[in-house]
């Protein structure tokens, strides 16, 4: 069976590093980066290829910085 393939794009300059998305991801795709953005916040990054494109992270992100893609087949 073909695996669902999803991916997210994080607007790192707008991320405030609140970690709410990390708690919401069932696939443990998201983690905090060591670096900080222009505002001094640690931002999030993807750390594996397990994203299903479920959009849970984007739906709970208070700052609306996550865009989600999912392959249709």
């Amino acid at each position: 069976m073909a695996k669902v393939k999803g991916d997210i794009v994080i607007d790192i300059e707008k991320c405030k590093g609140c970690e709410v998305c990390i708690a919401a991801c069932p696939q443990e795709v998201i983690a905090m980066a060591k670096n900080v953005n222009g505002k001094g916040y640690h931002y999030t990054e993807t750390v594996n290829e397990e994203c299903t494109g479920c959009a849970n992270c984007a739906i709970v992100c208070p700052d609306g910085v996550i865009t989600v893609y999912r392959m249709k087949n």
């Binding site: 073909a2 393939k5 999803g6 991916d7 794009v9 707008k14 405030k16 590093g17 609140c18 970690e19 709410v20 990390i22 708690a23 919401a24 505002k39 916040y41 494109g53 959009a55 849970n56 984007a58 739906i59 709970v60 992100c61 208070p62 700052d63 609306g64 910085v65 996550i66 865009t67 989600v68 893609y69 999912r70 392959m71 249709k72």
Partner: protein
């Protein structure tokens, strides 16, 4: 044949499943990291977008952390004096009954200084939607006790916790206004998990649909965190909210079709 899919193949416009609504401006939100105000703004604007109502909606911003809501919501808005949003919304709706009108208010705004305006707008059955962000505290001014602060909950003006024998009991405004005949739909929601956000969005949609049918006042409370005021991390504050706020402010519908839910 290789079944390896590259990120470039996934990130194509036809595969887009979620992006920030255009009804939020591109300004960075002024809220603390992890604050529920941002999520509440976003689902509110998503609902207005779904209703294709950008041109016919007027929002009233409060005093409180969300005083600048008009900078972020890409619709027509006014900002009211502290607690007076329901009075201003009343005027706007009566002058322009074809518009969709909502207020967006914190608990200090709606349940303390604005108690009279809230109760009378509800009692008159104004055909507006009140969105009530309850974080149990005055966020903007430094975390003072609000009427909604839980028993024994610490705040900057009750550092040893709210002692109800001297400071009074917390006020459940939402249950209170549900008693009034002018109020048609009352619900309490949250925005801290994906499923809660989906439910809250449905509730907002329902409130606006009912306003379009001229059913009377619709009232949506969103129990939210004030992680700065509560002095916790955002993730801790969401857990604390589940364990402490929800037992006192239970989620779910309180009044549907003008009838109290038993």
């Amino acid at each position: 044949m290789s079944d390896i899919v590259t990120k470039e193949q996934i990130r194509r416009p036809e595969n887009l499943v979620y992006s920030k609504t255009k009804l939020l401006t591109d300004k960075a939100l002024s809220y603390c990291p992890g604050c529920g105000h941002g999520t509440a703004h976003r689902i509110l604007m998503e609902v207005i977008e779904e209703l294709n109502a950008q041109e016919i909606t007027i929002g009233i911003a409060p005093v409180g952390c969300s005083v600048l809501a008009y900078e972020f919501m890409n619709i027509d808005m006014q900002q009211a004096a502290h607690g007076r949003a329901p009075a201003l919304a009343t005027a706007v709706k009566r002058l322009m009954p074809e518009k969709i009108v909502f207020t967006y208010q914190g608990d200090g705004d709606l349940a303390a200084i604005g108690t009279a305006e809230t109760i009378h707008a509800c009692n008159r059955g104004e055909n507006i939607t009140i969105i009530f962000i309850n974080n149990g505290i005055y966020g903007m001014t430094g975390g003072q006790m609000a009427p909604t602060t839980l028993p024994n909950m610490k705040a900057s003006t009750c550092p040893y916790g709210r002692d109800v024998t001297t400071m009074g009991n917390p006020l459940r405004m939402t249950e209170l206004v549900a008693q009034l005949p002018g109020v048609h739909f009352v619900t309490r929601q949250a925005v801290h998990t994906p499923s809660a956000v989906r439910k809250a969005k449905k509730a907002l949609r329902k409130a606006f649909d009912l306003q379009k049918e001229n059913k009377g006042l619709t009232f949506v409370e969103i129990v939210s965190n004030c992680n700065s005021g509560w002095k916790m991390t955002p993730v801790q504050s969401n857990k604390w909210m589940e364990e402490n706020m929800f037992p006192f402010y239970p989620l779910g519908d309180i009044k549907v079709d003008g009838q109290l839910v038993k």
